[in-house]
Symmetry: C2
Subunit: 257 residues, 2 copies
């Protein structure tokens, strides 16, 4: 029996993301971390700090994707309700985790800072969850079955991914190639590019125009495939499509993922 | 009969957002535009360039919220499938809009650029939709009942909002106040802030820590309310909470929305 390729969803939690106060960067950094592991992010949602909204999104996403990564709402303040929402989504209780209490007590003692009831909130973890290490600021995230709950602060979320990576089932690595044409317009290459996409169904082709000012505009063509042996052909074909318009193609540095 | 307050959802469409290639800014600019109109964004989703995914998200969101704003996927290339997906979501046909064909034909003639079949794709609009003007690059967005379809390029999406604004039912404007404490930690103010949130249920209080380096860290406290007469009290109370920790509170410039 072949396992299906792993997939991921990201659930961003926080009023500040929906009010426009904060521009999210966690989706991008989670996607960039998972890409080289062969785990594509297939959907993302952003919800506010309302328990019913979080519960519904968690339950929708964990049923549909291999992994779910949440960010935000695990701090010490009254609007940090993610741990309770995850417990509610799984229908389990929640309580202080002895290991986290011990760790935070030691940390705050070292900082000569009072370990207040609010700070103890950060030790509350759904029953049955395992911990996710936070080497940046101490208070951990946690894993509940296929759902990983991370902090919202980007530096902390990024660090937590390192502890999660080894727990994940990896998939086929996606190889990417990007070729750009300065001054190119999408309409100039849309037809041959569409024909190439039909001809090479194992490859995903994307076309991304940019426009900063006249002269600093153009199109990036991006091809993604799990078949590295196709890369040379892809490059040749994309370069030919761009060259045919009179623009000189430029291959950008490649990254796996 | 009182109408319920308007709400909005944002649907971001594009593989590049989920692969990490591109960091979205459209959610933030849509939220920032709608805030002063009293239309809060309550949910956002990001899906890839797959028709079934777009259709499901559009139908989920348009049933639940007053307005839905989509971005991305309305260009000339093969991966631009948003118009078809919207037509499928509404169960209507799609075809070239004569007004758009005339406008684009004139535009490309002026630019001495061939009006190719690929470029004609940008004139395809679901049956029954009305147009949304694009003063930046010509090819319009469209409105289908309560769903507005915008371009993905941020400058274009922003310009399209100006044409949409007058069509929207506005709500009560949210007034915000932000007070920060440099060096403050969330755990220092979590308890009195939580108590204040209970005491003032008409006000939403958020607490947002930042950490760039030692000395350049602290917490922003943000209060939002549709009752402007509460602002003075809110400021006084938040300043008192911060001052009690020994930190000097700083009120930041206020913006409605």
């Amino acid at each position: 029996m072949t396992e299906t390729p792993p997939t991921a969803a990201v659930l961003l939690i926080g009023d500040e993301l929906l009010s426009g106060r904060t521009r999210d960067i966690n989706l991008q950094q989670i996607a960039t971390y998972l890409g080289p592991l062969g785990i594509p992010v297939v959907e993302s949602r952003t919800v506010s700090d309302v328990q019913a909204s979080i519960v519904k999104a968690v339950n929708d996403l964990r049923a549909e994707y291999t992994y779910v990564f949440t960010t935000g709402g695990i701090g010490p303040t009254h609007d940090d309700i993610t741990a309770d929402a995850i417990a509610a989504a799984f229908g389990v209780g929640i309580g202080e985790h002895p290991e986290v209490i011990a760790m935070l007590a030691e940390r705050y003692a070292e900082m000569k800072t009072e370990f207040t009831p609010a700070r103890r909130r950060m030790a509350r973890v759904p029953h049955g969850a395992s911990l996710v290490a936070n080497p940046v600021s101490g208070a951990p995230g946690f894993q509940m079955e296929n759902v990983f709950t991370l902090a919202g602060v980007p530096q902390v979320a990024r660090a937590m991914l390192e502890d999660i990576g080894p727990r994940l089932r990896t998939g086929a690595v996606v190889h990417k190639v990007t070729i750009r044409g300065v001054g190119l317009r999408e309409g100039d290459i849309a037809e041959p590019l569409g024909a190439l996409a039909v001809e090479m169904p194992n490859v995903s082709f994307g076309s991304y125009p940019w426009f900063r000012s006249v002269g600093d505009n153009g199109v990036h063509l991006v091809a993604s495939t799990i078949h590295p042996d196709l890369i040379d052909t892809i490059v040749e074909r994309l370069e030919a499509i761009i060259s045919a318009t009179g623009v000189t193609p430029e291959r950008l540095t490649e990254e796996a993922g």
